[in-house]
C-alpha cells in the first residue's frame, strides 16, 4: 500500500503520537487540576477533591451563565436547524438556476471573518434602535451556525433516496402526508446532527458573543473569559471540565443513539 519505508513510517507514527499529545495534554491537565484539593488552580496537586465542583454549583453567576448558554443553544439549534434543513432540501433535491451562487451565499457567514460578522450585525441592529438584548444574541448565533447546519445536513441528505417519497406519492399519499410520514422520519438523523452541531457551536461561541451580549448577561464562555481576567482559579478548571464533558458527551450520545435507532430500524 502507501506505506513508505520502515523509517518513514516510524517517523510518521511518532509525529502522530506527538500531535495527539499536543492536542489533548492541555485539556487533560484542565480536567486533572479541576480535582486538585489545593486552593490554587495550579500544580502541585495536593490531593483529590470535588470541592471546586461544589463551589461551582453554589456560584450564582456561573449558574446564570449556564442557564443562558443552555437556553441560547437550544433556541439557536431549533431555529437554525429548521431554516437549514429547508435550505438543504432545496439544494439537494432540486435543480434551479443560480444554485452554485446560492450555495456560496448559504455558507457566506463562515467565509466572512466572525469579528466582521459580529460588528456588522451589532451596528446594523443598533442603527435600527434595537438595544443589545437576548434577541440580538440569538439572531447572531442563528446566522453564525446556519452554514454549519447546512453543510452537515446536506452531507446527510445526499444519502437519502428520493424513491421512497415518490413511492408514497404514487401510492396515493398527499404531499403533506408524504412529508410527515416518509420524508421527515428519514430526515431525523440529519435534523439531529444539525441540531447538535448548532447547539455545540452556539454553546462554545465567544468571538461574536462578546460583541452581541447585553451588559450583565454572560454565557459560559464569556464567564470563563471574565474570570480569566483575575487569575486562573480552580473553579475555572472545574467549569472547563463540566463544559468538556457536556460538549463531548452530547455528540457521542447522539451518535450512539443514532446508531441504535438505525440498527433497530434495520433489524
Amino acid at each position: 500500500m502507501t506505506v513508505r519505508g520502515p523509517t518513514g513510517w516510524t517517523f510518521i507514527k511518532i509525529a502522530t503520537v506527538l500531535t495527539y499529545v499536543f492536542m489533548f495534554a492541555p485539556v487533560a491537565v484542565v480536567m486533572l487540576l479541576a480535582f486538585n484539593a489545593s486552593q490554587f488552580g495550579s500544580f502541585p496537586m495536593t490531593g483529590l477533591s470535588v470541592r471546586w465542583f461544589v463551589e461551582l454549583a453554589q456560584n450564582d453567576a456561573i449558574i446564570r451563565a449556564f442557564q443562558t448558554s443552555m437556553i441560547l443553544g437550544a433556541l439557536t439549534a431549533v431555529i437554525s436547524t429548521s431554516i437549514g434543513v429547508c435550505a438543504s432540501l432545496a439544494m439537494v433535491r432540486y435543480d434551479f438556476p443560480g444554485k452554485n451562487l446560492l450555495n456560496t451565499a448559504l455558507i457566506a457567514p463562515i467565509l466572512v471573518p466572525e469579528v466582521v460578522l459580529a460588528v456588522s450585525l451589532l451596528l446594523f441592529l443598533q442603527f435600527l434602535s434595537m438595544p443589545k438584548n437576548f434577541v440580538l444574541l440569538l439572531l447572531g448565533h442563528v446566522i453564525f451556525t446556519l452554514p454549519f447546519v447546512v453543510l452537515v445536513v446536506q452531507a446527510r441528505l445526499v444519502g437519502i433516496r428520493k424513491e421512497y417519497e415518490e413511492a408514497a406519492l404514487s401510492l396515493g399519499a398527499n404531499p403533506f402526508q408524504t412529508f410527515f410520514q416518509v420524508t421527515l422520519p428519514l430526515l431525523m438523523p440529519a435534523v439531529a446532527a444539525g441540531m447538535l452541531f448548532a447547539f455545540t457551536i452556539s454553546f462554545d461561541d465567544i468571538t461574536g458573543t462578546l460583541f452581541w451580549k447585553p451588559p450583565g448577561v454572560e454565557t459560559v464562555p464569556t464567564q470563563i473569559f471574565a474570570m480569566l481576567r483575575n487569575s486562573i482559579s480552580p473553579e475555572i478548571n472545574a467549569l472547563g471540565t463540566v463544559m468538556i464533558i457536556l460538549t463531548v458527551a452530547l455528540p457521542l450520545t447522539g451518535a450512539g443513539l443514532a446508531r441504535w435507532l438505525a440498527s433497530r430500524r434495520g433489524g
Binding site: 513508505r4 484542565v30 466582521v116 442603527f127 480569566l228
Partner: protein, 291 residues
C-alpha cells in the same frame, strides 16, 4: 395541468430557501453594506455620530503606519500558524488515512473531539501548562533545573502556540479527507514502476492531497488572522492582532465609524484570500470535511 405542475415544481426550492435567504440578507448582507456606509460617518469629540460622507476614518486607517504594521503582523502570525499546522497536521492525517490499525475509527473520533471542546477552554488550558505555576515550571523546579519559575506566557510565541492548538484539527481533517480519497493503486503503480517510497509519495500522494492541504491552510489562515481572543488570553500587551483593534474600537472606545472602517479592511484582506482560493480551487473542498 402539466404547465401548472412544472410551475409549482419551479417554485418549491425557492419556498424552501426563502427563510435561509431572508436570514442571510437581513442579518449578513445588508448589515455588511451598512458597515461600509457607517465607515464614512464621523464620531465627534462629544461622542455623537455625524451622518455624512467623511473620509477621515479612511484617511486615518490607510495613512497611519500603526494600522498597516498591525495588519502585516496579523498576516505574519496567520501565516506562521498555517505553516506550523500543515507541518504538524500532515503526518497525523497521513497516519490516520493509511494506518492498518484496527482502532482507526477511534483515532478519527479523537481527531474530531477537539471540535467539540470549547475554544476558550483550549486556549486557557495553556496557562495550566506554561504559567508560572503551571506543569512545565513545576517539573523543571522539581527536577532542580531552575530555581525560580520562568515566565513563558504572554508573548508572540504563546499566541502562535494557542492558535496552532485551536486550528490544527481543521488542518488534519481536511488533509485526511483528501488522502482518504486517493486510489491506493496509484501508489502501488508508482512503486511497481520503480520509484522509491519517497518518490511515490512526492510524485503521487502529495500532489493528490494538495486540495485538502490547501483547504486546511485556507481555514487556518482565515480563522487565525481573524481572532482577537487568543491574543487577549495568551498574548502580552503588545501582541494584539488586527481584530483586537476592531474589538477595542467598537467595545472599549465606542468609536463605531472607525471600527467599521477597520472591519471593512479586515473583510477585504481576508475576503480576497478566500476569493483567490475559490478562483483556483473550489470552496466545495471544505464542505467535504462535513461528510
Amino acid at each position: 395541468m402539466a404547465v401548472s405542475d412544472a410551475h409549482t415544481r419551479d417554485m418549491r426550492p425557492w419556498a424552501l430557501l426563502s427563510p435561509a435567504l431572508t436570514a442571510i440578507t437581513l442579518l449578513l448582507a445588508i448589515p455588511t453594506c451598512f458597515v461600509i456606509v457607517y465607515s464614512f460617518w464621523l464620531r465627534t469629540a462629544a461622542g455623537d455620530e455625524q451622518v455624512g460622507f467623511y473620509l477621515d476614518n479612511w484617511i486615518e486607517v490607510l495613512s497611519d503606519p500603526f494600522y498597516r504594521d498591525i495588519l502585516l503582523y496579523t498576516l505574519k502570525i496567520g501565516l506562521i500558524t498555517t505553516v506550523c499546522c500543515a507541518l504538524m497536521g500532515y503526518p497525523a492525517a497521513y497516519f490516520i488515512a493509511f494506518s492498518k490499525m484496527r482502532n482507526k475509527a477511534f483515532l478519527l473520533l479523537l481527531l474530531m473531539l477537539p471540535f467539540w471542546i470549547s475554544y476558550i477552554i483550549r486556549t486557557m488550558s495553556w496557562i495550566n501548562i506554561l504559567g508560572v505555576s503551571g506543569a512545565v515550571n513545576y517539573v523543571l523546579q522539581s527536577l532542580g533545573i531552575v530555581a525560580e519559575p520562568i515566565q513563558m506566557l504572554y508573548n508572540e510565541a504563546t499566541v502562535i502556540l494557542g492558535l496552532i492548538h485551536f486550528l490544527l484539527p481543521f488542518m488534519v481533517l481536511n488533509i485526511y479527507v483528501s488522502l482518504e480519497g486517493i486510489d491506493p493503486n496509484l501508489n502501488a503503480a508508482a512503486r511497481s514502476l520503480g520509484s522509491t517510497p519517497f518518490q511515490a509519495f512526492r510524485e503521487v500522494t502529495l500532489p493528490l492531497s494538495l486540495p485538502g492541504l490547501a483547504a486546511g491552510s485556507l481555514l487556518c489562515f482565515v480563522l487565525g488572522s481573524g481572532t482577537y481572543i487568543t491574543p487577549i488570553v495568551l498574548g502580552g500587551p503588545g501582541d494584539g492582532m488586527f481584530a483586537n483593534l476592531i474589538y477595542d474600537a467598537i467595545i472599549t472606545q465606542l468609536n463605531w465609524p472607525l471600527g467599521s472602517a477597520l472591519s471593512i479592511v479586515l473583510l477585504i484582506v481576508l475576503g480576497s484570500v478566500v476569493l483567490l482560493y475559490n478562483r483556483y480551487l473550489s470552496l466545495g473542498q471544505i464542505s467535504k470535511g462535513f461528510g
